[in-house]
């Protein structure tokens, strides 16, 4: 008895609220990882023989450590991942077409403690104990039709690519598992879902050390502004070596335009489309009712991304939740922030003494309100070798912000310069940039274009190589 007492009093340092947990104290949280959208891309494919197609992709769950086993990162079964396409009414920010992806996790009888064991023979081979399948729904909002696909045109179940664990479990990852997760649907679309390298690149470390850019950044003169390699050799890509979860679709242009044709005249009303990605979860009714046994209802949007950097660069933090719930068609409500960005007045003028355009910035409002990424479908895709990371600012109109957004577009440098006024002829001679001019690993020259995921066994986080020099295929 005495021993019991001693033991108990050792545990209960203070007794007030000893049994506080005897009510139901459900978690309250601020972070929502699985529905957190990172980037949205849309561009005309530069894959050989497929330039009549548009690729759209969304990345979620950023900063994935390649060795985060045993289950790695999954898409959420309760999230609806949606591509919205706006092709009419002068691109007003209302969707005309939607491509939805919904996942379901299959847990197989598992004799081990890990989700994958042994050399993976296929994306859903017997060594995979946790298989994620998915359904694609293509909705035409004008006709009110919806088409469902849970198999590809050869009858294979649509399946998520497994993680890249290392040479023993996933040797030659891209060929055996990455490619195998690309499915062609009966409607001619192709789709991929699975882990990939994060294509985004940015010297976040230098920026956050009180704008302590590594020379010659932030003004990239001459050679430092040319080419695709690292402009400032000392610059560090804060996203190097991390993976993201990617959903990518490839669709014929004719499937995306309002009249089903391939536009050739840039002045034609169907020459441009706009698109954005959202995540949504289902609303549920709290009260059960015998007359309404189906208590799971419509989807409520919890996140969205159109242009890069909008929410990060232009929307004040306290507005973030409202932004994520709202729709592009209502983006005028945020015009006051976008039309007078502090980055222009506070940093570019305040810190770097640049003359910036006066507010309201109609040049920025044209890109960011409504916040959808616009693509001029009459602009032919640029071959990989000829692409400029600066897109239209580098005389390559097939990139952001006019030709959609390609995965290699240096949106940070383009954004810096656009906010400095380059779109209206100001500061064109001040080549601003963070110093990182390319991704840590090369992109693919074919769908889904994002590079294979970094492998868990050996990756740049453990090697200290900042992502460079590690073959992600092992």
């Amino acid at each position: 008895m005495l021993r019991t007492l001693k033991r108990l009093s050792a545990i209960a340092v203070s007794l007030t609220g000893m049994f506080a947990a005897s009510h139901r104290n459900g978690p309250l949280m601020l972070e929502d990882q699985t529905a957190n959208l990172n980037d949205f891309y849309i561009f005309r494919s530069w894959e050989q023989g497929r330039s009549d197609r548009v690729v759209m992709s969304m990345s979620v769950q950023g900063f994935q450590n390649p060795d985060q086993g045993p289950s790695y990162y999954k898409f959420s079964d309760s999230v609806l991942y949606r591509f919205n396409i706006n092709n009419s009414r002068g691109l007003d920010g209302n969707p005309d077409l939607q491509i939805d992806v919904v996942f379901r996790t299959e847990l197989r009888e598992n004799p081990t403690f890990v989700a994958y064991f042994g050399k993976l023979s296929a994306i859903d081979g017997p060594e995979v104990f946790l298989v994620q399948r998915y359904t694609v729904v293509v909705r035409n909002l004008r006709t009110g039709t919806a088409t469902f696909y849970d198999r590809d045109r050869n009858g294979r179940l649509l399946t998520v690519a497994p993680p890249n664990m290392g040479p023993k479990s996933t040797p030659n990852y891209e060929e055996t598992l990455g490619r195998a997760a690309i499915f062609e649907l009966a409607n001619g679309m192709r789709i991929f879902a699975g882990p990939r390298d994060d294509a985004f690149y940015f010297d976040s470390g230098a920026t956050f050390d009180t704008l302590n850019f590594r020379a010659p950044a932030p003004v990239l003169a001459g050679a430092a502004d040319q080419g695709q390699g690292p402009a400032a050799p000392a610059a560090i890509d804060g996203f190097a070596g991390y993976n993201i979860s990617l959903i990518a679709v490839e669709a014929p242009i004719t499937m995306l335009t309002a009249d089903g044709t391939v536009p050739t005249n840039p002045q034609a009303p169907n020459a441009r489309i706009g698109a954005w990605a959202v995540t949504a979860r289902q609303l549920v009714t709290i009260r059960p009712s015998p007359s309404d046994p189906i208590h799971i209802g419509e989807y409520a949007q919890v996140g969205r991304v159109g242009n890069p950097l909008t929410v990060e660069a232009l929307i004040p933090l306290p507005m973030k939740d409202r932004w994520n719930r709202s729709h592009p068609a209502d983006d005028r409500q945020f015009a006051q922030f976008i039309g007078d960005p502090f980055f222009a007045t506070g940093i570019l003028r305040g810190v770097y003494n640049l003359t910036v355009p006066p507010a309201p910035r109609n040049d920025l409002l044209g890109v960011f309100v409504p916040d959808i990424t616009r693509i001029d479908l009459t602009i032919a895709p640029t071959a990989a070798a000829s692409q400029s990371r600066l897109g239209p600012l580098g005389n390559d109109n097939a990139g952001w912000p006019f030709g959609g957004r390609r995965i290699g577009d240096d949106v940070v440098d383009i954004g810096f310069r656009a906010i400095a006024g380059v779109l209206v002829g100001l500061n064109g001679s001040v080549p601003l940039g963070d110093g990182v001019n390319s991704n840590d690993v090369p992109y693919l020259d074919r769908f889904p274009f994002h590079a294979a995921p970094h492998a868990g066994f050996r990756h740049s986080q453990s090697e200290g190589t900042n992502g460079r020099g590690i073959n992600t295929n092992q």
Partner: protein, 427 residues
């Protein structure tokens, strides 16, 4: 993560024309992003250092308080709640209207069972920030404890509509169960788990809840899987082992159940573990160990009294079940019903009244417990026993049958009593 770039290019009007403040904010943002990824203990260390270095920064203080609350959730050690409270007192003394601190204050009050205060506090915050799901959550939680279910449903509905995620789904699931829909509750709890969280404790918490929902319908296999998942997400999570103990006991594995309960008890000595171990040791014929567990219960009660805790419906129920100190059981249950009037407290009071032979009062209390149509076998067992004591054989049979139909293994010892009594009233 792209939010990391936020302050590099922010439009934050607060910083306009003040590059130094902006640069400082940028640095902080990058720092806080990194801290978010640390383990709870490490977060406490870093925030403590930060608050020490910059005592004027109220945001750091709030982050420290929030991390203390999280630590309390993980350990059930109330001293962390006291620390959080102290930090928040400090913040609110400097800035009485600090929103972040007021919101956390509400969460602390909820943990301290000051439910009425939480209702008032949440309603105030809802007026300030009607789009913040958090406040609707604390409002709903407090209303549930006060038995104000209609208003609670509205608050939770608001919460889930603003943001369907792990936090709101798990509350929706619980409401569904209370309102009579166990299958719907299971479905929603699975959605909460699927929605996910970076916090292992949050995931483990939902898995335990899912296990409990399965167990309430005697689905012991599914329940065991859920509890095992909880133990995997959060090491040394006492309620996961408590759940494993319950699942094993329900499927008849006495030795396994004892081991699991002992493990749970060694982490946090909750009274239910002592209660369950007492029963299990008796079933094994181990009188000595059983007696120790009963003594532990009495110690826990004394400790509660020493801490000026006047009420504890868990101990009340256990004492009543065991016909041990039934007068104390009634005292505890009566004190609890003064604090919260939810169906579970009405049930505990009804059972304590029954054991003290106050059958008419017990009947009134159990009617309140049954008022939501909750598929809780224990409620119907208690209702059946009370009806039998009052000579109402028809209702006794009805409720005892219902209890055994809902869950024939709701409690090894009490289910046996229910069967005996049912045979007796059927005569």
């Amino acid at each position: 993560m792209r939010q990391a770039i936020l302050l590099a290019m922010t439009a934050g009007a607060a910083f306009a024309q003040d590059p130094e403040r902006l640069a400082a904010a940028m640095k902080e943002r990058a720092l806080l992003d990194n801290i978010m990824r640390l383990k709870t203990d490490d977060r406490i260390k870093v925030y403590s250092t930060l608050t020490g270095a910059k005592p004027d920064n109220l945001h750091y203080q709030n982050l420290l308080a929030a991390t203390y609350v999280q630590k309390m959730r993980e350990t059930t050690d109330p001293s962390y709640l006291a620390r959080a409270s102290k930090v928040l007192d400090g913040v609110l003394a400097v800035e009485g209207s600090n929103y972040e601190a007021l919101r956390l204050r509400n969460e602390v009050e909820l943990e301290n069972h000051n439910f009425r205060k939480v209702v008032e506090g949440s309603k105030k915050l809802v007026r300030i920030a009607p789009e913040d799901p958090w406040n609707w959550g604390t409002l709903g939680d407090a209303l549930m404890e006060l038995g104000e279910y209609n208003e609670a449903a509205e608050a939770y509905q608001k919460m889930v509509t603003l943001r369907p995620d792990l936090s709101s789904y798990n509350r929706a699931a619980w409401y569904r169960y209370v309102a009579g829909d166990r299958k719907g509750a299971i479905e929603l709890m699975k959605m909460a788990i699927s929605a996910g969280s970076r916090s292992g404790e949050h995931m483990a918490w939902c898995w335990v809840e899912l296990g409990n929902l399965y167990l309430r319908g005697n689905e012991t296999g599914e329940a065991a899987k859920a509890f095992a998942a909880a133990a995997k997400y959060q090491p040394n999570y006492h309620s996961a082992y408590g759940g494993i103990g319950r699942a094993l006991a329900a499927s008849g594995d006495i030795k396994g159940a004892i081991e699991a309960y002992k493990k749970a008890q060694s982490i946090v000595p909750m009274p239910d573990y002592a209660g369950a171990l007492h029963d299990l040791y008796l079933r094994e014929g181990n009188q000595a160990e059983a007696a120790k567990q009963l003594a532990t219960l009495d110690v826990l009660d004394k400790m509660g009294q020493a801490a000026k805790e006047s009420c504890n419906r868990t101990i009340a129920l256990i004492y009543a079940d065991k016909n041990h100190r039934v007068d104390r059981a009634l005292e505890l249950a009566k004190a609890e019903i003064a604090l919260r009037q939810d169906i579970f407290t009405w049930d505990a009071l009804a059972w304590a009244l029954f054991k003290n032979k106050q059958y008419d009062e017990a009947q009134k209390a159990i009617e309140k417990a049954l008022s939501m149509g909750t598929p809780e076998a224990q409620f119907h067992y208690h209702a059946g026993m009370i009806a039998a004591a009052r000579g109402d054989k028809a209702n006794a049979a009805k409720h005892l049958e219902k209890a055994l139909e809902l869950n024939p293994a709701f409690d090894a010892k009490q289910a046996a009593v229910a069967r005996e009594k049912l045979a007796e009233v059927r005569g």
